[in-house]
Point group: C3
Chain length 145, copies 3
């Protein structure tokens, strides 16, 4: 977690460090994001998530059964295989393509001083070229500064 | 439509109830979202759309020719078949995966007291495990509170 | 670039004209978006990108090696071929479907009066039915109006 910067009232931003352990890995980071929201003191607002990498993204899906994340990983690996006739010579063209499909940002709301996720929803850091140490940026904008 | 809560000036949020009728169904909900924008009284602002489910999402595409939505549905069903070697045992792994590809949120702007959509654009609730009664959350943040 | 409209303090919006040259083309528009951010005078804020078309989107990925964009284009063309058993009779069903996968909006942050992109990240206008002249909308909301 980066140290607090000087921020205007109603804005709170942090960068989380995420350690991944597999090449393709959806890692549940809901608790880490929730911690930033609590630390922000925001009661109602919007929470922006941003991944500053080109071979990793962020998505929201079911966290209760870990098999769901495994199925998403396996399907992305099937649709965009690691080995293929790619032009990019660094051996991770598939990682870039998966990132383009999943996306680099998400927007969640804050209600009652907590992330307003659906009952089964969790936030996943979507690693497509791990294992690595990654960054997930979280920015909170208060509805009532 | 949920009743109005106490909101600060410049913020307006509602949850729409969406009834879907097929397993995979892109349902045009532009009119419902437009109604929330009108009710908000917002002239210029940002309109956030959020789906709190893990087997449904939201996307923007052509609404004029219904064949476009049918083609998107059919292609997603082809790329991520309902039946497959999935680990998730509830029979809807494909629904979760399609949701990961389409995404759970969208951001549209408000200009001149209306959604600032392109000429052919419509907002679709993307059902991937219907028929069900679903929720689409709409939040309006005014540019000038 | 559209002329400046009367905007409240802390809000700045422009529409960029983007000329594409191929049917499927990821075009790096980072410099154009960065120019809008500079023109806005915003030091810290949120930058919303929106594509008002139904056969083009926006995404963030690596800009350093042009092969990455070519690999993303080729994979999308492989997953969603131009020719296929589509219902939409205008010959560009694949363009609509690719747009649904990539998405119509992105959200980036502004820090230190510049786009807060990761080291290798670039913003790409994702053309799926070119060549055409297209529009990319950019809206900046200041953290401190």
């Amino acid at each position: 977690m980066t140290p607090a910067k000087s921020e205007p009232p109603g804005v709170f931003a942090r960068a989380l460090s995420i350690r991944t352990s597999r090449h393709t890995e959806l890692k549940d980071v809901t608790a880490e994001v929730e911690k930033v929201v609590r630390e922000s003191g925001c009661a109602e607002g919007v929470c922006y998530l941003y991944v500053p990498h080109t071979t990793a993204g962020v998505l929201i899906n079911e966290g209760a059964d870990p098999a769901v994340a495994r199925d998403i990983e396996a399907t992305l690996d099937r649709l965009v295989p690691h080995a293929g006739a790619y032009l990019h010579a660094e051996g991770n063209a598939d990682s870039h393509i998966k990132t383009a499909l999943v996306g680099s940002s998400e927007t969640v709301w804050i209600e009652g001083s907590a992330l307003s996720l659906g009952r089964w929803q969790a936030i996943f850091f979507a690693e497509f070229d791990g294992p690595r140490t990654r960054e997930l940026r979280v920015k909170v904008i208060f509805d009532r500064p």
